[in-house]
Structure formats: C-alpha cells, structure tokens
C-alpha cells in the first residue's frame, strides 16, 4: 500500500531535510515546501549561491553538520518535489495553500510533516523599535546570509546559548562587539552544569565561545537588565543595569533575544491539540515520542514543535518520517525499529539538556513587573505595556484574545510573533494569573501577509448579501 498523494513536508531546515531523506529512502517522493530560496533552515541557512565564504567561515564548528545536512538535501533533490520560495499561508484538513512569486495555489496532502522552525523570543525594552535594534537571529542572518554586521559597534543582549554564539561569530568575522550582556548570572550557569553535561560537546562549545570572547577582550556581563536604547532617529547607546547600578554603553546596534519561540501557526490551523509547556513557558502542539500530533496524518518535528536545537531537529525529522512510514503501510523492519528507538533515546537526552539550558539561561521572570508603562510591547500596532494594563483594569479582561480584541495587541502584520510572549507576561502579571492561564493567540490564515490578486473576477462563486 502506498500513500494516495505524496507526503508533504513543510520546512527545509534540518528536521525537514532528514524527514525527506528518510521518506525517499523508502521510495516515496515527498513534496517539500520552504519559504526560503535555499534549503538549510535558519541555523544552516545558505547565503545566495554565488557568495564566496567557506562553510567553515559561515558555520564555524557547525560546518561539518551544516555540510552533512546540505548534502543530505542535495542527495535527494532529484527524488523530491522541492518548492522553495513558497509560503504556506493556510493549512486545512487535506490541503495547504501556498504563495509563490505572487500567485496562490493549493496543495493536497494526506500525510504532512510540519517542520516550521522557530524565531527569537522577544522581551522588549524601551527603544527596541529604533533602527539599529535587531534580534539575535536577525544579527546572525545579517552576517551569515549577507556578510554584514548590524552596525559598527554592536552590543549583544539577552540570554541563551545563541547570545554567545553570535557574539563569537561577529567578533571572529571582524565586527566590533562592544559587550555581551546576559540577563543570567554565573550562579545560574553553575547550577545548570550537571544537566548540561548531558551533551558534553555542546557544553564544551559554549564554554569555548565564552573563553574565546574573554580572551579577545570582549566585555562580558551577567546579571544584566536592559533598560533602554538612546538615540533620536537611530541607536546611539544602550542603558542597562545590574546590581551595581545603571550603565550607559555607546553603540550603534543592539542584537537581543531570550532563547527561541516555536512557529506553531500551521499546527494550530490544522487543529492540533496544544498544551502549555512550563519549560518553554509557551503553548506547544502535543506530540508523541515519534512526533505524531493529535491529528492523524499530521506529524511535527524540530524547533517548530518545541525548541530542541539543530541536532535534535535532525533526529526528530527522521523519527517523524519513520512514524509516517510505519503508519502508512511501510512497516519498519528490525533495523528501522532499532533506528527509531535510537532516535527516541537521543531526543530524550536532548530534552534533558534543554532543561539544563533553561536553568543556565533562565527566563527573566521579573520582566513584566519591571516593564514601564511607556514600553511598546506590540511593535506592529504600537501598543504599550500601559495600554495593556489600562485595558485589563477598565474591561476586566483576563484572556489574551480578549485583550487583543480590546487593545489590538497582536493584531498587526506579524500576528503576535514578536509580542505574544511579552503580552502574556504582562497580562498574567497584572491580572494575578500564571502565564499558563491567560490563553494564547491563535494562528489565523493567512499566517503571513498575502497580496491581493490582480485578476479579473467573473467566476461562479455564490452571490453574497452585503452587510
């Protein structure tokens, strides 16, 4: 028995690529839809084809893995239906809606693997919407994808392993890194060490970046709180505080972020059940150990179902593909079952490591309490923390969608990608609730802006009453 229509994979990052490889290995020809022009996802993003830098220069210690993932995709390219530069803007039972070069189309599926990846998790500070302020991931894209630094004197800020990796990559590439400011403390990192030893090579890399930055004179500070960016029309300085008081650091660019947040809009539109994950401090779609969602035929893998890192994303993608195969008449043979079990063990180890990372780079729990009223939380609609608090007090709203309906937070072009975490923190704090209790913003089609079609009408759709 074979699947009626080809399986579809959304996302050509490490998870999507390993899923494709596993499916192709059993003779299937998946469709792979990816928003980017080249495969690799974010962590292994490839610059435009004619760029010159080596993989070593682009990915450093990850170049071996990056190369392996890129080559895996090259190796199956002739046996997949690969759709780059294609946005999945809607997902429903049995079909996806795509946008490619300004035109929309529909893709049927019966089995689907969603490997939609992640973006930076943002907790804003005053001035974060100014020119010169970018996410850590964005700062990395500027360097990796375009060979640029985000400014001539850059401060990196926030927490998470990405903070040190990007600072290291920038300094190595010759950028002027003024400081790396971590909201976590040394005590956090020491306490996390035992859990981090679950993946000693990853821990070693992290320590290496720290040591390298120190050795190269890059200022490192822990226990930091970001206060504001100064400057009229651009970034001119960052003001931050620690136990000793306030400090001002002249700079023309800030890259910041607090770990990652999963892109879950498609899983939401597909009707997958979600649950609140305390470690991620976010609602995530449920998945079993193999990656099956709550909806038959829908599999979830990689950072898009829960932040797990690039290596784990590869394992999760492959494991989900094996589940898809065994659920659809391609029973796994003994080596296949052994492989599936091995992948699950590795994923379990990665989850333990994840716990350690969260301990080493904890979420700044006091952020909402300390956020001033004038702080813009939703940058699309320009809604401040004060607006949120005033709305809660004047309407009694205790739920995030209700808050959105009343004051427009999350109602802009990005559908809350940048502001939902921060808005949930503020709502929880000022309404006396836990973040798990305030609900979540729902994905709405189109999940990203799509253009009006400039074509003549006169089709046979039924006439509707006007309002």
């Amino acid at each position: 028995m074979s699947v009626q229509v080809p399986p579809v994979i959304v996302g050509a990052g490490p998870a999507g690529i390993r899923a494709a490889q596993a499916l192709v290995g059993r003779g299937l020809r998946p469709v792979m839809v990816d928003e980017a022009p080249r495969w690799g996802g974010q962590i292994y993003r490839q610059p435009p084809a004619h760029f010159q830098r080596s993989k070593k220069a682009l990915y450093g210690w990850e170049s071996g893995r990056a190369d392996a993932v890129h080559e895996a995709m090259s190796g199956v390219l002739d046996r997949v239906d690969y759709r780059p530069d294609t946005l999945v803007w809607n997902a429903e039972a049995g079909h996806l809606d795509l946008l490619h070069q300004g035109r929309t189309s529909t893709l049927a599926y019966s089995q689907l693997i969603v490997a939609s990846g992640a973006t930076d998790r943002i907790l804003p500070f005053i001035g974060w919407t100014k020119p010169g302020v970018y996410t850590l991931g964005g700062a990395q894209v500027a360097l990796k994808y375009q060979g640029c630094a985000i400014g001539s004197k850059v401060v990196f800020l926030g927490t998470g392993p990405l903070l040190y990796l990007i600072a290291y990559q920038y300094a190595l590439a010759g950028a002027n890194v003024a400081a790396v400011l971590d909201t976590a403390t040394l005590a956090d990192q020491v306490a996390a060490a035992p859990a981090l030893l679950a993946r000693p090579s990853v821990l070693a890399k992290g320590l290496y970046y720290l040591a390298w930055l120190r050795a190269h004179g890059v200022r490192l500070q822990g226990g930091v709180r970001a206060l504001r960016v100064l400057g009229d029309a651009r970034t001119e300085a960052l003001v931050w505080a620690d136990a000793r008081g306030e400090h001002t650091l002249a700079c023309d660019a800030v890259g910041f972020g607090y770990a990652l947040r999963s892109e879950t809009q498609l899983a939401d539109l597909l009707g997958c059940r979600f649950r609140f994950d305390d470690l991620a401090r976010a609602w995530l779609p449920e998945r079993d150990v193999a990656g099956r969602s709550s909806v038959p035929g829908i599999y979830l893998a990689g950072d898009g179902v829960g932040i797990m890192g690039a290596d784990a994303a590869e394992w999760a993608g492959e494991r989900a593909a094996l589940a898809l195969l065994s659920d659809n008449g391609h029973a796994l043979d003994a080596p296949g079952r052994t492989r599936a079990a091995a992948l699950e063990r590795r994923l379990a180890g990665a989850a333990r490591f994840r716990g350690g990372l969260e301990r080493a780079f904890p979420f700044p729990l006091r952020w909402a309490d300390q956020a001033p009223d004038e702080l813009v939380v939703c940058r699309c609609e320009e809604v401040t923390a004060g607006d949120l608090r005033r709305t809660v007090s004047s309407t009694g709203a205790t739920e995030l969608n209700r808050l959105k309906a009343f004051c427009r937070v999350g109602m802009g072009r990005c559908q809350g990608r940048m502001c939902a975490a921060a808005a949930a923190e503020i709502l929880a704090h000022c309404s006396g609730q836990q973040p798990a209790q305030v609900g979540r913003l729902r994905g709405q089609a189109p999940v990203k802006p799509i253009p009006f079609m400039d074509c003549a009408p006169a089709d046979s759709l039924p006439r509707e009453e006007s309002a």
């Binding site: 435009p48 004619h50 930076d120 985000i150 950028a175 651009r234 940058r379 072009r413 940048m418």
Partner: protein
C-alpha cells in the same frame, strides 16, 4: 543621568559589510538618490548599507529599519515609488528598483 558620549564619526548607514564585497553592483534608487547594492543583497541590506531607515511606523511615524531579518516580524515592508510593498529582508535587490522610505505627502 547624563547623555552618552558620542561614539566618534557616526556612520551614515546602519549595516557594515564585513565580507562578500566582491559582487556585481546593482543600481537602484532610494528616495530619489542613485545608489547601488551588490548582487545577492536583500533590499534590506542594500538600503541599510546606504542609510538608516526602511520605513516609518504606521501610527507614530517613527523610523523603522527591520528587526528579525527572517520574514517573521513583518516590520521591513518598504514602498516602491509605484506604491508596491516589498518585504525587504526576503526580497533581493534588483536593478532599477525605485524605493521610498516615506509615503508621498509625509514630511
């Protein structure tokens, strides 16, 4: 708290090219000025290698210059002279593009 010390000659552009500078120039127009990017630049890179601004926020009018660089934040939609909107971080600069960082009629 006093104002920060100036950091010296402040570059008139945001992005700094560190590598990949040996690429074909791509001529385009930015707010009426002739500029060039390099083949393979996104619009965002090409514009911010020349200046500090991509657009102005819808309600406050404050300058914006992108944020996530990966097509998620939707804050880098730049206008063309013909009224089109292009997402600057995911659209490559093309020869002859005529871009505006302000809407007509704005100061």
């Amino acid at each position: 708290m006093s104002d920060p010390q100036p950091i010296g000659p402040t570059p008139a552009s945001q992005f700094v090219r560190l590598a990949e500078t040996q690429r074909e120039p791509v001529p385009f127009t930015l707010d009426g000025r002739a500029c060039h990017g390099l083949a393979g630049d996104t619009i965002l890179t090409a514009v911010l290698a020349h200046g500090l601004v991509l657009r102005h926020a819808d309600f406050s009018g404050e300058a914006r210059a992108g944020f996530c660089l990966m097509g998620a934040c939707q804050d880098c939609w730049i206008l063309t002279a013909g009224g089109q909107r292009l997402r600057a971080c995911t659209t490559f600069i093309a020869p002859g593009m005529n871009l505006r960082t302000r809407r007509p009629g704005d100061a």
